[in-house]
């Protein structure tokens, strides 16, 4: 990042390459919409380029980048509230695209297994969707991105203690939402 700040454009390309999939994954799990997640990813790198002078070396680069991503995701959520029908249509079309592709090959021997996997993914997706924005971002950065509490606290602009309780609350909510699936296999 410091090379990029000094004007090294190749360093910027390397940063984009290194982080684009992670940014896309975070935005997708947060927004649960492929198109919006890709828009946020593009916008995040655009803003990263334009505001490179504001980055301070003492902070971790990924925290800074995911702070931008978090703000963009929150802006999109607000925009969805203003245009609820539009965002609903987007989500529906996305799942309309994906569902048949995943379910069409029912004659294959792994069909039951695939069905179960799809069911699990859908359950996880819905459970994560039911969390508040802070809880959702915290659990995404913690579980899927394995970020430290300190880094998550920078992204959410909260204290480490607050992040701990957000995560505790988020996992408790997820366990309640998925209670039917979480009982040990041997007990039924």
């Amino acid at each position: 990042m410091q090379k990029f700040q000094a004007g090294d454009e190749a360093a910027f390309e390397q940063l984009v390459e290194a982080y684009k999939r992670r940014v896309l994954a975070v935005a997708y799990r947060f927004l649960q919409n492929q198109q919006e997640a890709e828009d946020v990813t593009q916008e995040a790198f655009f803003r990263m380029f334009r505001s490179r002078d504001k980055y301070r070396a003492e902070g971790k680069f990924s925290s800074w980048l995911f702070t931008i991503v978090n703000r963009l995701c929150l802006n999109l959520l607000r925009s969805r509230k203003r245009h609820p029908q539009e965002s609903l249509r987007l989500e529906e079309s996305e799942y309309a695209d994906q569902a048949p592709r995943q379910w069409e090959d029912k004659s294959a021997p792994q069909a039951a297994e695939m069905l179960e996997t799809e069911e699990t993914r859908e359950m996880v997706r819905r459970a994560v969707q039911g969390l508040s924005p802070d809880e959702r971002m915290a659990i995404i950065l913690d579980h899927w991105e394995s970020m430290s509490l300190e880094m998550i606290s920078q992204v959410l602009n909260k204290s480490v203690g607050a992040v701990k309780s957000i995560l505790f609350r988020a996992r408790a909510k997820l366990r309640v939402k998925m209670a039917a699936y979480l009982s040990p296999k041997d007990s039924g």
């Binding site: 990813t41 699990t120 979480l182």
Partner: protein
């Protein structure tokens, strides 16, 4: 270790983030507490379920769109009016709303000028008249000023005398 403390630390235990001593105490508690054991099993299952949700693959045009956007980022920053123009191009409804607002504002200014200003002009004329009446000499000859024949006669007399 009690159950409350145990449950607060389950997640750190599963991630291997507990210190050696706390880890040992934690496992001693688990060995004798079936409720906390169940909690640990549920947390493990929750993590397994979350892992079932994979990251998405980028769509076909993603790389191209990203490259275009990054190219835009490299362009010199434009002025606020250009950004405003681009915003209006992207949202014609906003452009229409802004145009309606501007027309409304201009109409309001015009109506204000046409209604309020004549009143102000009348006030100014009264004020000028008041200044006229303050000039005592003018007030003294006010009747004369209204009768031009007498003024002409006075002027003729003065010319004859001279």
């Amino acid at each position: 270790m009690d159950c409350k403390l145990c449950r607060e630390n389950i997640y750190r235990y599963l991630r291997g983030q507990l210190s050696r001593s706390v880890h040992d105490v934690f496992e001693m508690h688990l060995a004798k507490c079936p409720d906390c054991n169940r909690e640990v099993a549920q947390e493990k299952r929750l993590s397994e379920f979350l892992n079932e949700w994979p990251a998405p693959e980028p769509s076909l045009g993603f790389e191209t769109r990203l490259a275009q956007r990054l190219q835009e980022a490299r362009q010199p920053e434009t002025g606020w009016w250009q950004r405003l123009g681009r915003g209006f191009m992207a949202r014609p409804v906003w452009a229409g709303a802004a145009a309606v607002l501007m027309v409304g504002a201009l109409a309001a200014v015009w109506v204000y000028n046409s209604q309020v200003l004549p009143g102000k002009q009348a006030d100014m004329m009264v004020a000028q008249d008041m200044e006229l009446f303050q000039d005592m000499e003018v007030i003294e000859y006010l009747d004369l000023l209204e009768n031009w024949d007498e003024i002409n006669a006075l002027e003729n007399d003065s010319e004859e005398q001279s």
